[in-house]
Amino acid sequence: MNIKRTLAITKKTFRGIWSDKAALMLLLVTPALSIVVFAFGFGGDVSHVRVAVVNQDQGYQIPPSRVRVSISGAILANLDSKVVEVYEVATEAEGVKLVKSAKAYGVIVFPKDFTRNVYEKSLDPSLSLDTTIRVKLDKTNVNVAGVIREAIGDALVGASASMGVEGTATLDTSDAIYGEGATMRDFFLPAIATYILYIETFLMVVQAFVGQRISGSLARLQVTPLRPSEFVVGNAIAYSVLGLMQAAIMLTFSVYVFGIACEGSMLLAFLVIGVLAVMSLSLGMVLSSLARRSEQALASLSIVALPSFLLCGMFWPVEAIPTWLRPLSYVVPNTYAINAARDVMLQGWGIGQIWLELVVLAAFTVFFLALSTVSLGRVKG
């Protein structure tokens, strides 16, 4: 190996990178940005998870004292308020309704006379009394379900010890509102499939647009009566068909070959992932039309891919992301797609429950298509 020739190649590469300040900035800023997002996003445990509580326990006046105590109240007071946010509801049905409308992740049910039963059973363990706290969970989000179980368990142990009734009350989390038997694979697949399609479609469009830019064919088209909007929509139609085909293949393989759970309509799951593909291609068009060189367009991938990877709720719920960082999650289109895909595939939700996510994705698409049209109208020569 000739060192001089080798270093000539190194020098050439550095000069090329140095000459494109925009791409260089992206290359340097992205790792820092990603680590910041990762450190804050991942460092923060699951927090502020909403749980409904049905407390039928009226407390108990332990003889001979005149003081009325409530073990359920003590457990609730012991719950780490940073982790679990409690919403009191009157009935179990009401709690389940909250979970089914994505306003809570689970329902804690304290039975009637819970404190009395626990107290009496602590004195005579042979008594057949209901001392079980039933926790019905949305188990489709494995992380969240685990955190809720752990928080309630800790609170129960703490409260029992302080009241001298250790080991009497039990916790039953076997009942699932959603995701009965859901595995990590079931949990991650809708998100991973959505994310892969998002990146693939984006790359496909960037590659095609940058190619047209470099070859001069894009400039040539601008000297024809073709309008930027026609160019954008024409491309959007073609790439949408490709994106939808990719979505169909991915979904079919997942469900029929690998047996991934799809509780809801396959067609709706396909629609969600398909709409994301269209959104992604429109984002690709925006960034390609803004980029001056292919390196810039490809560098933009790191901006598109990494923060959204960490912020979209694929690994941990958006609730686990620090409050100040959370607004970023809501400007990442993937957050809505992953949410909707999980809702359909794991919870079996219908269009009536995920329409808002679809509308948000469609709005992102229209916005990016409009932006590409404006941007392409400005691109010359």
């Binding site: 047209q212 070859s215 001069g216 064919s217 400039a219 040539r220 088209l221 601008q222 000297v223 024809t224 009566p225 073709l226 309008r227 010359k380 020569g381």
Partner: protein
Amino acid sequence: MDKGSGLETGATLPRSPIGKRTPMRDVRTEYAAETKDLTMLFGKFKALDKLSLRIQRGIIYGLLGPNGAGKTTAVKILCGLLTPTGGQAYVLSTKVPNRNILPQIGYMPQETALYVELSVHQNMELFGELYGMTSKKIAEKEDELLRFVALEKWKHSPVANLSGGMRHRTSLACSMIHEPRLLLLDEPTVGVDPELRSAFWQYFNALRQAGVTIIITTHYMDEAQHCDKIGLVRQGRLIADGTPRQIMKETKTTNLEDAFLALSRGQETS
């Protein structure tokens, strides 16, 4: 150059490409293109320096000059791809950039600028459709143009499989599919063999006779003999304008290359 040699390559003279069209309404001047003090800056680099041109309708106008003289920049401004830093440009009596004149312009860029994954036919069809032509009309025009550029045999070959010269010819054919009133050809004869170049000029003459204005940039001084008028450009400035004969007479030279060198020396002295 032997004007008859093109026929031997299979290229035949076309029927009048604008025979059935209604005459263009002359709104402002008799000029197909006109620039006034056209200036273009790319950062600190001055690509055009107060370039003023007047190109009559129905002629072949050659914009001549060495590489980097500003020829391509001028053409890109005329077809609306660049907005000048200073001065004005008018094309077919319309101040450019203006979308309304685009259907009347044919533009062949210096780079091939084709969809190489598509066949010659598919590229031509694309451009025909962008100009709103019917399938029948596209087919007719395509056959005629492919005969002219001697590419009938390669009609269905992907452009990626063609040689550089063949791609250039395909590009030229694409720029003419919609029978434009004004053709802006940026170095159309680069990579074309002498025989076919001769045929090209024969075809350009036929188009000119049919009323089409052709603006050609080239750095081949010998090609300028085919132009009705030429403009010599150096460092973004027009250093001479007139018929080739006039320019040679004024510079007391016998060919345009010597004329250009004489004018360049004069520009440096001044």
